[in-house]
Amino acid sequence: MIHFVLLISRQGKVRLTKWYSPYTQKERSKVIRELSGMILNRAPKLCNFVEWREHKVVYKRYASLYFSMCIDQDDNELEVLEIIHHYVEILDRYFGSVCELDLIFNFHKAYYILDELLIAGELQESSKKTIARLIAAQDSLVETAKEEASSISNIIAQATK
């Protein structure tokens, strides 16, 4: 299973963290520190796997961002590597050629999308189309709620004039 997902920028800034195994707050910061040191310092053209404690970390760099997922030693590394890519493709399709800035200002979207991709540290959906459809549905739900709210507040505003 995937124990956690970590997105770190080349400068070591955390862009997203998602923990599927129970880590305390303290352990989380320790893990992030340890791993960013390990991953960011790796030269290019090495393999995408690092052995870390009792686990393995599968990572891949996309422009200025490192996507990494921590798995068990016996898990299939390449499968996870492609889950990362799958996630990136979905982000790309949603934002229209995604960049780090998109993920900074819309970090909540990154979380929504991740939740449609993984649950309990396992892959939930492998169809990009399905995920895009579900996210769009969520967005429209939020939009509708907002419109309703504004129309209600308009009514109230007019009534109290």
Partner: protein, 1020 residues
């Protein structure tokens, strides 16, 4: 794309980004946190929209790495908001900020449950996602039935059901009992007929978790898995959106093959055939393509197929096909494939008959040891270690040594440990082994643990042919300008023992050896100085005829350390100084250390895989573990240190793949070794801190009660020429089973007679410790049953066979001990009347195929019911006189007593709770002691003891015991006699002491009147 509608959040993020430095960022964050905190405080005026905005800000700040220790409640409360946007934020932020153990989650269980069973599909999704991501045990217990219902409901849409499947998987991991196997197996099989591939993917993950715990119930799923695999591999009926770079869902393929690896075999021939067809197609049809993602995905499937083929033990042809593929992979440029090729080749080593094929790739693997990528180097090292055998050990170990100088810090420790183990396991000849270890110490001394050099010493001592060679090598290394301290230790030891064999070589006269060793003394730590002192003493002994100049030099050093603050150094200096003045007797005392008993290498034992794993283990790993456990059962015979805690050293950090532990079983009877070193300078029962003691460590588990005094005795006995019988055969415990106990049971028992906590018994599977409390005639003893392994110990039975004088009650002993767990079993005693008999614990258990039955004496012995009491002369004499003769006062001349100095005898008495009362007896050779004995029949009763010893012959003495109860007097007398005759380290007694049956004599034996002590007795 800007954050829709949350301008405040966008502004905040921009502000943070514009901060010039960390300090400015911190100020901005603190300001924001202050703001959020005040807003949360007056919650009344807060709309859901505002709450949502602040909660997002908190998550953002938390991601930046700041502590967010408030506002969790607000996040959780948003879960119960009525509208989707707020609820969504509540669920997501809660799942990010909190972990499953957080108390606030409990507050939300009801709301979450309402969302799950409610009609609103979007709410169901949110709730299932959060529970799937952070649900803990409590969620498992209260929500599992509802989640199961959703998963199999025909009215639910796929988007809900796939979430339910993974949510159930999480709950099952937290508490496997929530899935009722009987009812669920059929449902699980039905789920595999699912058309929607999203639901099927999630369900397959669930199946993997279920079968990893118990495949038996899910046999019906097996053919369905094969069908799914067939369908995918032929790309039949797979919607376009579920292909990934043209490959039909690679993830589902991988998961399905993973599930199949948990079934031990596939019996149905047609299913087996179909599966092999699929596997064959994957093995043959996977080509390397340009597109990296397509390549990765197809190879993900390929490697899983390889694992499945290995698991199914396919025909040889298919296996060699796999090895050929892997051989190709380890030579490709793409680093991921190279890494995985090496990793899977290591797994392949477990398959029989392919080792030779793998060996053909040795050169390529050695090249990988120099790969720029540490991940790949690690795999290569593991593989080389695993594939090493007698035929290639020389090449591989030499490669490892060569690489050692270049290797980075992170790998050196593992590297040197592995090189040492391989050198030991597969040495073609022993001189090569010595070479390797000395090189290892030279190149990476910091990473060579004591065990490694102890092992060299053992080998050299045991092989005469090797001694001159090793001594020569050690001498060569001493010429190097800066050598590691471990090198000083090992060469000092070897040159001390065998340096004289070099006498004719240039630069190897005793004087020169001493000179070059003594040069190192200022550079070493206190742990090495004792070794050097021993070496000096040995050099001195070997210098024949004596060289007065050298003698004076060495004596001066001994003199210097006579007042050293370190006890070990001081003791050695004093003793060696005294001994070296003994002239010819020195030859006997400092004779060569006798051969060590053959024994399992502590190294190999330490390299055990100590992994405790979670529910899901791959079949490969499970198998590897089983293998390693069966082999452990045969090889682990070394003892743990006295306190029973596993040794903590650099070695224990290193993991060695357990699959390669086909270790030799040279487990001689270690208990014999007790007899060996008595006359040598190395005491067989040294204080635990002693380095050389560690070398012999396995011999001394529980220091004997008089361990501090022991060295004197041994040396004395040596000087006085009492030859300790070196061939004494030790009573071999009560043990005939194949599972060998670790440590001597009798010794452990004896040690526990003197103290109230310690280890009673240990073998490779379990350890039984105990802790006791005694109050008057009551006792309470707690047995600690510890399982040392990663699988449960079962069918435990413990029966107490109490002697007639003890009333005992053993509380319930559980039938199984879970892996690596310890259970406590209290035991209550009441002492009814005095007796020397011991209670016996009849203990049996099963581990794997071994049934072990042991009978252990419990240390609820007579002396535990004694309490020290000191009596004055006014109290003693009237009492002594009033108990005038048999049966209340008994006297006996005991012969064959272990010759102990009086002071030690007094110590012995004290350790049995007998108070020695000095000054009561005017004769300094006599000893008077007293104690109170407690039992139900005697109540508290005063006991008085008098020993009269003969300074001319310490092996005999006269003992008088008196108390108000005839049984007590008799039993106590016999008990003390046993202790004096039978040395507390009872192991070596039968052959050594040969006690003459003592003759009981009446207290008024006229012959005794010639003895001054006897006259005193008569006066009294």
């Amino acid at each position: 794309m800007a954050l829709s509608g949350m301008r405040g959040l966008s502004v905040f993020i921009s502000d943070i980004r514009n901060c010039q430095n960390k300090e400015a960022e911190r100020l901005r964050v603190d300001k924001e946190l202050g703001n959020v905190r005040t807003r949360f405080k007056n919650e009344k005026g807060l709309t859901h929209y505002e709450k949502k905005k602040y909660v997002w800000k908190m998550l953002y700040i938390y991601m930046l790495g700041y502590d967010v220790d408030f506002g969790h409640m607000e996040a959780v409360s948003l879960i119960s908001a009525p509208k989707y946007p707020e609820k969504q934020v509540g669920y997501i932020v809660t799942a990010c900020l909190l972990n499953e153990n957080h108390d606030f989650l409990r507050l939300a269980i009801n709301t979450v449950r309402n969302d799950i069973i409610g009609r609103n599909e979007t709410f169901q999704c949110l709730a299932l996602t959060m529970v799937g991501n952070i649900g803990g045990r409590e969620f498992a217990e209260s929500l599992a039935p509802d989640v199961q219902k959703l998963l199999i409901s025909s009215s639910c849409r796929p988007l809900v059901r796939k979430k339910a499947a993974l949510c159930l998987l999480r709950l099952y991991r937290k508490n496997p009992d929530v899935v009722n196997i009987d009812g669920w197996a059929d449902r699980m099989a039905q789920l595999l007929d699912e058309r929607d591939l999203g639901v099927l993917t999630s369900s397959m993950s669930l199946l993997v978790a279920l079968v990893s715990n118990n495949h038996e119930a899910y046999w019906s799923c097996l053919p369905k898995c094969v069908k799914i695999l067939e369908r995918l591999s032929r790309n039949q009926d797979v919607p376009q959106e579920y292909t990934y770079y043209g490959i039909p869902s690679p993830w589902l393929q991988v998961k399905t093959m993973r599930a199949l690896q948990y079934f031990p075999t596939i019996e149905d021939p047609s299913t087996r055939r179909s599966l092999f067809e699929v596997l064959q197609r994957i093995l043959m049809g996977t080509d390397v393509v340009k597109n990296v993602n397509k390549n990765n995905a197809s190879h993900a499937v390929l490697f899983e197929a390889l694992a499945l083929v290995m698991h199914l033990d396919a025909e040889k042809e298919m296996m060699s096909q796999c090895v050929a593929l892997l051989g190709k992979f380890i030579a490709v440029r793409e680093p991921n494939i190279r890494y995985l090729g090496l990793e899977n080749m290591t797994r392949m080593l477990m398959v029989t008959d392919v080792q030779d094929v793998i060996k053909r790739h040795q050169a390529q693997i050695i090249t990988s040891l120099k790969d720029p990528d540490i991940s790949i180097r690690r795999r290569a090292l593991d593989l080389l270690y695993g594939m090493c055998d007698v035929s290639n050990a020389k090449d591989i170990v030499e490669e490892l040594l060569q690489y050692l100088s270049a290797a980075e810090f992170a790998m050196r420790e593992e590297l040197s440990l592995k090189a040492a183990i391989l050198a030991e396991k597969f040495a073609p000849d022993l001189s090569w082994y010595v070479d390797v270890i000395l090189q290892l110490i030279d190149k990476a001394g910091d990473f060579v643990s004591d065990d490694i050099w102890f092992r060299v010493v053992q080998f050299v001592t045991n092989n005469e042919d090797l001694q001159p060679y090793a001594a020569g090598k050690a001498r060569e290394y001493l010429d190097k300008p800066a050598i590691h301290e471990t090198m000083v230790k090992v060469s000092a030891y070897i040159l001390g023992e065998f340096g004289h064999l070099l006498a004719r070589r240039p630069g190897c006269t005793p004087k020169e050896l001493f000179g070059i060793l003594h040069e190192k003394l200022p550079t070493v730590s206190t742990s090495t100085i004792p070794i050097l002192l021993s070496t000096y003493a040995k050099i001195l002994m070997h210098t024949q005829p004596p060289d007065p100049e050298l003698q004076n030099q060495i004596w001066a050093i001994f003199n210097k350390y006579e007042s050293c603050i370190d006890v070990e150094i001081q003791q050695r200096a004093v003793e060696y100084f005294a001994l070296s003045r003994k002239g010819a007797a020195l030859m006997d005392i400092l004779a060569e250390v006798p051969k060590f008993p053959e024994r399992q290498s502590a190294l190999i034992k330490k390299a055990e895989d100590t992994e405790v794993d979670i529910a899901e283990q791959s079949a490969i790993k499970l198998r590897a573990q089983q293998q390693s456990q069966t082999s452990n059962a045969l090889v682990v015979t070394d003892q743990r240190p006295a306190n029973g805690t596993p040794p903590i050293g650099p070695l224990s950090l290193v993991k060695i793949p357990s699959m390669s532990s086909n270790v030799d079983h040279n487990t001689g009877d270690q208990r014999l070794s007790q007899e060996n070193g008595t006359l040598s300078k190395v005491d067989p029962q040294p204080p635990p801190a002693d380095l050389l003691g560690d070398l012999l460590g396995p011999l001394a588990i529980e220091g004997p009660p008089t361990s501090t005094a022991q060295p004197h005795t041994n040396i004395n006995s040596g000087v006085e020429g009492t030859v300790v019988n070196a061939t004494a055969i030790v009573p071999a415990g009560e043990q005939t089973e194949s599972v060998q106990p670790i440590g001597n049971i009798t010794e452990r028992f004896n040690a526990l007679c003197l103290k109230d906590s310690g280890v009673l018994y240990e073998d490779p599977y379990i350890q039984i410790g105990l802790k006791a409390e005694w109050r008057a005639h009551h006792g309470r003893l707690v047995l600690f049953l510890g399982n040392k392994n990663t699988s449960p110990v079962v069918s435990i039975q413990a029966i107490i066979l109490p002697p007639s004088h003890l009333k005992m009650e053993l509380s319930l002993v559980p039938e199984t001990i879970p892996p690596r767990a310890q259970v406590q079993c209290p035991l209550e005693f009441i002492n009814l009347h005095p007796s020397r008999d011991a209670a016996v614990l009849d203990f049996s258990y099963k581990f794997g195929n071994d049934t072990v039955n042991i009978k252990l004496r419990l240390p609820a012995v007579l002396n535990k019911f004694l309490q020290p009491i000191s009596v004055s002369a006014e109290e003693f004499f009237p009492q002594w006189r009033s108990l005038s003769g048999p049966p209340l006062k008994l006297q006996e001349v005991v012969r064959g007593v272990r010759p102990l100095p009086l002071i030690e005898m007094a110590n012995l008495f004290t350790s049995y709770h007998l108070t020695v009362c000095p000054g009561l007896d005017p004769n300094p050779n006599n000893l008077v002691a007293s104690a109170t004995f407690y039992s139900e029949s005697t109540k508290a009763m005063l006991c008085l003891i008098r020993l009269e010893t003969d300074p001319a012959d310490r092996t005999q003495l006269r003992m008088t015991v008196a108390s108000g109860d005839p049984t007590l007097t008799f039993e106590l007398k016999e008990f003390i006699k046993e202790q004096l005759v039978i040395v507390p380290t009872a192991a070596r007694v039968p052959a050594q002491a040969l006690p003459t049956p003592p003759v009981a004599q009446p207290a008024s034996d006229p012959a005794a009147l010639t003895d001054p002590g006897a006259m005193l007795a008569a006066l009294l």
